[in-house]
């Protein structure tokens, strides 16, 4: 049984050497790190038997920047811009989780209006992230047109967020205690127009891709993970809810004003790739409902609590989590009374969602790898941090 020549140049990295003990007709396929289907820099070494996947070894760390080490050398305020760079598609969710943690440490209550702005921003960001997932997923599955329609709608959301925060993806809009700038006057008219139009746009995208016969044939019953295994892998967000588990932090551990808003939690039936796609489409519709309620009930008031200029929370620790587009985004902040945190642990959804891939993929075909990976909606910097 000859050791297949490892595709990673001379040095056989431990993973490939270990996985090459298979029979002779197997061969190793290197997917990544520069592969269109990996949404970022991530390498997967797939041991294949013909077209069927036998085993899958992910290689991580290409985008590891040691953010948790950086945080230990920066003040609480300087950390905020870094949080939206761990997951550039849901910068708002990350900002919120971190800022809420520090506010809890300070025992700070934020005005009602700030909570409403945060909900508005978070739900817009959720739709934005799901739209990009749909665009990239369509591309992976060979349908190029949904990409363009999804980005047309994304552009409208990005403009709204940009007018409020100044940034489109890495917004850095949240501050400890509220916001520097209130919502611009043009925000609500634009939002009203968007809410009026977007319902039909989601139906259009849904029909074009998720309901399409070829897409259904490639995703129904493919890449199934049961509810127990999903919870054991620590999965969260649409990937977990697809396995017949309507578990959403906005319901399980309601934060901010989600307790008083009405919306439903879509859940799949058998945890396959199609259910994960359906859940995201349905979540976009639910976000519209939330946005409408937040817009109607938007209170008057201050958009910021006067926080002290040097933030020095008392010694202690807190974990605060938010339901990001990909799942539970949590910050475990340990403070020691100085201006810099003692330790910040970031709990990121893609890290756990991705760890379930080897189990999901065993026995499926290589073409399914693209379908399954796309349905997990991975953002690689979130895995490596």
């Amino acid at each position: 049984m000859s050791d297949p020549t490892t595709p990673t140049g001379g040095r056989a990295s431990p993973a490939t050497a270990q996985a090459s003990a298979g029979t002779s007709d197997e061969f190793l396929l290197n997917v990544g790190p520069q592969h269109p289907a990996t949404h970022g820099v991530l390498r997967v070494v797939v041991t294949m038997d013909g077209e069927v996947v036998k085993d899958l070894q992910p290689h991580l760390g290409y985008v590891h920047r040691g953010l948790e080490k950086l945080f230990e050398n920066r003040t609480y305020e300087q950390i905020i811009p870094f949080t939206d760079r761990t997951d550039y598609l849901s910068a708002i969710a990350n900002n919120w989780a971190y800022v809420m943690a520090v506010e809890k440490l300070l025992g700070m209550e934020v005005p009602k209006k700030v909570e409403y702005i945060r909900v508005l921003m978070a739900e817009l960001n959720r739709i934005n992230s799901h739209l990009l997932w749909l665009a990239a997923y369509g591309l992976d599955m060979g349908a190029f047109t949904p990409f363009l329609y999804a980005f047309r709608d994304r552009e409208e959301i990005n403009t709204m967020i940009e007018e409020a925060s100044g940034g489109r993806l890495t917004t850095n809009y949240f501050r400890i205690g509220g916001f520097i700038h209130d919502l611009p006057p043009a925000f609500f008219p634009r939002l009203k127009k968007f809410l009026g139009r977007f319902g039909r746009a989601v139906d259009e995208l849904d029909t074009l891709l998720v309901e399409n016969a070829i897409f259904v044939a490639r995703t129904r019953g493919v890449g199934i993970i049961s509810r127990e295994r999903a919870i054991s892998y620590g999965m969260s967000g649409p990937c977990l809810r697809a396995s017949d588990a309507p578990l959403d932090l906005r319901r399980e551990a309601p934060y901010s004003i989600y307790g008083s808003l009405e919306f439903e939690i879509p859940a799949g039936r058998n945890g396959d790739t199609w259910d994960r796609s359906w859940v995201r489409i349905e979540e976009m519709r639910q976000s519209l409902r939330i946005l409408r309620q937040a817009m109607d009930g938007f209170p008057e008031g201050e958009h910021r609590v006067r926080a002290p200029r040097n933030i020095e929370p008392p010694a202690g620790e807190v974990y605060s989590a938010v339901e990001g587009p990909r799942g539970e985004v949590g910050f475990y902040v340990v403070s020691d009374g100085t201006r810099k945190p003692y330790r910040v642990k970031m709990r990121k959804p893609s890290f756990s969602n991705f760890s379930a891939l080897p189990e999901i993929m065993r026995g499926l075909k290589i073409a399914d790898l693209v379908a399954v990976m796309g349905s997990l909606d991975l953002v690689v910097p979130e895995i490596d941090r």
Binding site: R74, T75, E77, Q78, I79, I80, P81, F82, R85, T145, Y149, R152, E155, T159, E162, E163, A164, S165, G166, G167, T170, N172, I180, H181, D182, P184, P185, E204, T207, L208, E211, N212, A213, I214, V216, A217, R220, A242, D244, P246, E264, I265, P266, A267, G268, R269, W274, D275, W278, V279, E282
Partner: protein, 170 residues
Amino acid sequence: MQAPLAPRGIALVLSGLASLGKGLWITFSAMFRKSITVSYPEKRVVLPLRFRGRLVMPIDPDKGDNRCTACMRCVKVCPNHSIDIDKASGPDGKPLSKPASYRYNLGTCIFCNLCVETCPFFAIVMSDEHELATADPSRLVIDLAAEKYRLQGKKGSWWQKKFRGTGEEA
């Protein structure tokens, strides 16, 4: 709210064909809608007021000079040390509250706007300039004090209203 069950048998075939048809209709009807491309560079997108372009230290029309007092707060707040200030010193060697040089490293700046927010004198602001690519790395470090930047347009008036205290918190 539960996901719909997959249709069975003939219903599956019919719904499948129907979905193909609906898909084709969407792309066909899209042909008659207006294209949404903005033909850059001929036509440009109108940038919002709070757009974060390159950092600049504009000249205050009233004082004819920049408003920076070298208080070093922006240096401290910058998450990755992209700003360096050398204090100017007067003829008798005593330090003045003016910057001799204000080196801004465009290469490492992450456009997070923390420096602008912390500056008590509204000396620096993020302009609308976003075509910042250069082949020559030395042009990435800019001395904003020596640049004598003139901030015009909406952003200019918004900036001046802020430090004259008359502007609303747009």
